[in-house]
C-alpha cells in the first residue's frame, strides 16, 4: 500500500516537473517576409555593351542638299502631296515633349509634331493638313524605304549608316546625351556615378556610351525608355542617361528630378525623307530655313525650354 502511494507521488512529481520545462518562444504563424519590390518586365542588369554601329565613315553626315525655294513644280513630289490633299508624316507617340499622345485627350503633341505641322503649313497654308502615322523606333527606316510616309519627323539622329538607307534634311535639332538624377542626390555629372546603377534603353548608343564611360557606372538596360523613369522613381537606379530631349520629357513629368551635367555625345536630328525624293529634301530644307528664322524658338520654348536651357536653332550645313 505504502509502496503504491510512493510510486503515485513520484509520478505526479515527474509530470509536474515536465510541465515546468522550457515553454519556448511565442510563435508566429505568418512568417515576416520583406516586400518584393516590383520591376518592369525585361530589365537587364549590367548587359553586354551593344556594338558601336557607326558603320562606314562618311565625311559629314549632316550635310544636306541646299534648299531651292518653296515652289512646287508639276511632277514634283510636293505636287503629288498637294494633289493628295494631306502630308503623311511618320511620328513617335512615346517620347514626352517630342512626339507623344496626351493621355487625357488622346491627341498627338510635341516638338516633332509641331515641326511636321510647319511642313503642312508651308504646303497647304494649313498646319492641320497632315496625317500622322505613328511608327515604332525599329520601323522608322523601313517606313521610309517603303515610301509609307512623305517625311519622318521622329527625333532621328543623322548617321552615316542611315544616310545609306534614307535621305535627311538639314539638322533641325541638336541633342546630346546627359544624365537625369533626383534633385538633392548630389550627382552633378556622369563622372559622379561610377559604380552606381544608371538606366538606358537596350541596344542604344546611350548604353554603349555608358559602358565606355570612366569611371564606369553599372548599366541597367530596359526594353522601353519610359521604364527608365519608372526605375528612377522606384529608386531601383540612381540615374537615367540618354538623349537630353528624352530626359527633358522625363524631368517634366516629375518635379523631384532634374537633368544635370554637360552633353557628352552629339545627336543631330534630321527629318527623314525617302531616298529618291531629292526635290522633297530641298523643299523641306527651304521650309526649315523659314522655321529657324521664325517659329523655331516658339516651338522650343513651348516644349523644351522649361526643362532644358534656352537654345538657338542649329545652323544648317549643305553639300
Amino acid at each position: 500500500m505504502m509502496r503504491g502511494v510512493r510510486i503515485l507521488l513520484a509520478t505526479v512529481l515527474a509530470a509536474t516537473v515536465a510541465a515546468c520545462g522550457d515553454p519556448g518562444e511565442p510563435r508566429s504563424l505568418v512568417p515576416v517576409v520583406p516586400a518584393e519590390r516590383p520591376m518592369p518586365a525585361g530589365v537587364e542588369l549590367a548587359p553586354e555593351a551593344p556594338e558601336g554601329g557607326s558603320g562606314e565613315d562618311c565625311d559629314d553626315p549632316t550635310a544636306s542638299l541646299a534648299p531651292s525655294g518653296l515652289s512646287t513644280p508639276a511632277g514634283s513630289t510636293m505636287a503629288e502631296i498637294k494633289e493628295r490633299g494631306r502630308l503623311i508624316a511618320g511620328v513617335d507617340q512615346n517620347t514626352y515633349l517630342f512626339g507623344f499622345r496626351d493621355p487625357s485627350t488622346g491627341e498627338l503633341e510635341g516638338f516633332d509634331i509641331d515641326i511636321a505641322r510647319e511642313m503642312a503649313r508651308a504646303l497647304f497654308g494649313d498646319p492641320n493638313r497632315v496625317q500622322f502615322k505613328t511608327v515604332s523606333v525599329q520601323d522608322r527606316i523601313t517606313a521610309l524605304q517603303n515610301g509609307e510616309v512623305d517625311v519622318m519627323v521622329f527625333a532621328m539622329t543623322i548617321t552615316c549608316e542611315r544616310r545609306e538607307q534614307a535621305a535627311f534634311s538639314s539638322v533641325y535639332f541638336e541633342a546630346g546625351q546627359r544624365v537625369l538624377v533626383r534633385k538633392g542626390s548630389g550627382y552633378t555629372s556622369l563622372s559622379d556615378l561610377g559604380g552606381k546603377k544608371v538606366c538606358a534603353p537596350k541596344g542604344s548608343t546611350s548604353l554603349a556610351n555608358l559602358v565606355a564611360a570612366d569611371p564606369t557606372p553599372v548599366p541597367v538596360a530596359v526594353d522601353d525608355l519610359a521604364d527608365c523613369l519608372l526605375l528612377l522613381q522606384q529608386r531601383h537606379v540612381e540615374a537615367v542617361s540618354t538623349d537630353d530631349t528624352v530626359l527633358a520629357g522625363m524631368a517634366s513629368q516629375d518635379p523631384t528630378i532634374e537633368v544635370v551635367g554637360e552633353t557628352f555625345s552629339s545627336e543631330p536630328y534630321g527629318i527623314g525623307i525617302p531616298k529618291d525624293n531629292k526635290d522633297m529634301v530641298r523643299y523641306v530644307n527651304a521650309v526649315l530655313e523659314d522655321v529657324r528664322a521664325n517659329s523655331w524658338e516658339d516651338i522650343y520654348g513651348r516644349w523644351l525650354e522649361p526643362v532644358l536651357d534656352s537654345a538657338k536653332p542649329p545652323a544648317p550645313t549643305y553639300e
Partner: protein, 426 residues
C-alpha cells in the same frame, strides 16, 4: 475451454452462434460506416470542395479581369468610364474574402499556404501600381503607361501563376474526394462474403447435428444479410454512376470552360496592353495569337470551346457554347482590324475598336459577349454537377440505418435459431 465445449454438441452450437453473431456485428458496423463515409464525402464534395474550387477559379478570373479592366481604363483617354472602374474595384474586392475562405480549407497542405501567401502579398502592391498609373494618366503624364505595364507584369508573372496553382490544387482535391466517394468497398464486401459463407456453413452444421431440415433463425439471418448486400450494390452503383456523371458532364466541363475563360481574359489583356505599349507591344501580340488559338483553334477547327461543346448534351448549354464560339470568332476578326489600324498608324481608330462598348462589333462588345456566355455555361455545368452529385448522395440515404437494422435482425435470427436447438438438449 473452447476445446472442451467443442466436444459436446450444445457447446459446439454455442460457439458457432457466438462467432456468427460477432461476425454479423462487425459486418454491420463496417458496412454502415462505409455507407456513411461515402455519403459524407459526397455531401462534402457539393458543399465544400467544389465550391472552394469554384471560388478560387472565380478569384483567378477576377484577377485577370482586373488586369484587363485596368488596361481598358488607361486607354480610355480622359475620364475613365465608371463601369470599368467598378469592375476593377469589384474584382479586387473579391481577393481578400476568397483568400480567407481558401485558407480555411487548407487541410494542412503546405502548397495551399504558399500560394495564398504570394497572392496575399502581391495584390496590394499591384493595386498600388495601378493607382500610380491612374494618377499619372489623369495628369496627362505618359509615365502612367509604364506603371500599368509594370503592374500587369507583376500580375502575370507572380499573382496569376499562384492563383492558378491554388485553383489546380483545389481541382485536384475535388478529384481525390470524388474518387474516394466512388471507390469499391473492399472491406465491407469481404466481410459480407465471409459472413454469408459462415451462415451457409452453420446451416449445414446445425442440420447435421440436429437432423432437422432448415433452421428458420439462420435463414432469416442469411436473408437479412443478402438483402443488405443487394441494397448496397444497387445503391452504391447508382451513387457511383451519378457522381461520375456529375463529373463527366458537370465539373470536367466546368474545368475546361473555366480554363477557356481565363485564357480569353488573358488574351483580352494582351490586346489592350499592345495598345498601351504604343508600338512596342510585339510580345503582347504574340501571346494574344497563341492564347486565341487555344480558345478557337485554327480556321474554324479545334480549340477548347469546341471541345467543351462536344462534351455537352444539354441543349441550353450547347446554345451558350455556340454563342461563345461565334463571339470569339467575331472578336478575332475585330482584333485583326485593330492591328491593321494600329500598324497603319491609325491609333485612335484602333483604340476605339478595342474599348468602345457602345460600338457594335467592337472587341469590347464581342469579348463581353464571349465572357457572359461562358459565365452562363459554367453556371450550367456546375448546376449539372450539383444535381447529379446530390442525387448520388440521396441514393445512399438510409443505407447506414438500414445496415444497423439488418445486422440486428440477423443477429437476433441467429441467436433465436440456435437457442431453439439448444433447448432440445435440456
Amino acid at each position: 475451454m473452447v476445446a472442451n465445449s467443442w466436444a459436446t454438441t450444445p457447446g459446439r452450437l454455442s460457439i458457432i452462434a457466438g462467432g456468427i453473431v460477432a461476425l454479423i456485428l462487425l459486418t454491420g458496423v463496417v458496412a454502415a460506416a462505409t455507407a456513411m463515409s461515402k455519403s459524407d464525402t459526397t455531401t462534402n464534395l457539393v458543399e465544400i470542395h467544389e465550391p472552394t474550387a469554384a471560388d478560387v477559379q472565380r478569384l483567378y478570373s477576377a484577377l485577370s479581369d482586373a488586369d484587363a479592366a485596368a488596361a481598358s481604363s488607361l486607354l480610355a483617354a480622359g475620364d475613365e468610364p465608371i463601369e470599368l472602374r467598378r469592375r476593377y474595384e469589384n474584382d479586387i474586392a473579391l481577393v481578400g474574402p476568397t483568400l480567407g475562405l481558401a485558407a480555411l480549407d487548407r487541410s494542412g497542405d503546405p502548397r495551399v499556404k504558399e500560394q495564398i501567401e504570394v497572392v496575399g502579398r502581391q495584390v496590394p502592391t499591384y493595386v498600388g501600381l495601378v493607382e500610380t498609373a491612374r494618377t499619372n494618366s489623369r495628369q496627362g503624364l505618359p509615365i502612367g503607361g509604364a506603371y500599368l505595364r509594370e503592374a500587369s507584369n507583376l500580375m502575370r508573372t507572380e499573382i496569376l501563376p499562384a492563383a492558378e496553382r491554388l485553383y489546380r490544387i483545389q481541382v485536384e482535391r475535388v478529384a481525390d474526394e470524388r474518387e474516394s466517394a466512388v471507390s469499391f468497398p473492399y472491406a465491407a464486401t469481404a466481410l459480407a462474403v465471409l459472413l454469408i459463407v459462415a451462415l451457409v456453413a452453420a446451416q449445414i452444421q446445425v442440420r447435421r447435428l440436429s437432423k432437422r431440415r432448415l433452421n428458420v433463425g439462420l435463414l432469416v439471418a442469411t436473408s437479412a444479410i443478402l438483402l443488405g448486400v443487394i441494397w448496397s450494390s444497387v445503391a452504391m452503383t447508382a451513387h457511383a454512376r451519378l457522381v461520375n456523371e456529375g463529373h463527366d458532364h458537370g465539373s470536367a466541363q466546368v474545368n475546361l470552360l473555366a480554363d477557356t475563360r481565363i485564357t480569353a481574359l488573358q488574351a483580352r489583356a494582351d490586346e489592350l496592353l499592345t495598345l498601351v505599349a504604343r508600338g512596342a507591344g510585339a510580345t503582347y501580340e504574340e501571346e494574344f495569337a497563341k492564347l486565341s488559338r487555344t480558345i478557337v483553334g485554327d480556321g474554324g477547327d479545334g480549340g477548347t470551346l469546341r471541345e467543351a461543346r462536344t462534351m455537352t448534351r444539354d441543349e441550353e448549354m450547347v446554345h451558350h457554347l455556340d454563342q461563345s464560339i461565334g463571339a470569339a470568332e467575331r472578336w478575332l476578326t475585330t482584333h485583326g482590324e485593330i492591328r491593321q489600324s494600329d500598324d497603319g498608324g491609325n491609333y485612335e481608330e484602333a483604340v476605339e475598336l478595342a474599348i468602345d462598348s457602345r460600338r457594335a462589333g467592337s472587341s469590347a462588345v464581342e469579348f463581353r459577349s464571349l465572357d457572359d456566355h461562358l459565365g452562363v455555361a459554367i453556371k450550367g455545368g456546375r448546376q449539372h454537377f450539383v444535381a447529379e452529385t446530390v442525387g448520388g448522395a440521396r441514393a445512399l440515404t438510409l443505407l447506414t440505418a438500414g445496415w444497423a437494422l439488418l445486422a440486428l435482425v440477423a443477429a437476433a435470427g441467429v441467436v433465436s435459431g440456435i437457442r431453439q436447438r439448444l433447448r432440445e438438449y435440456r
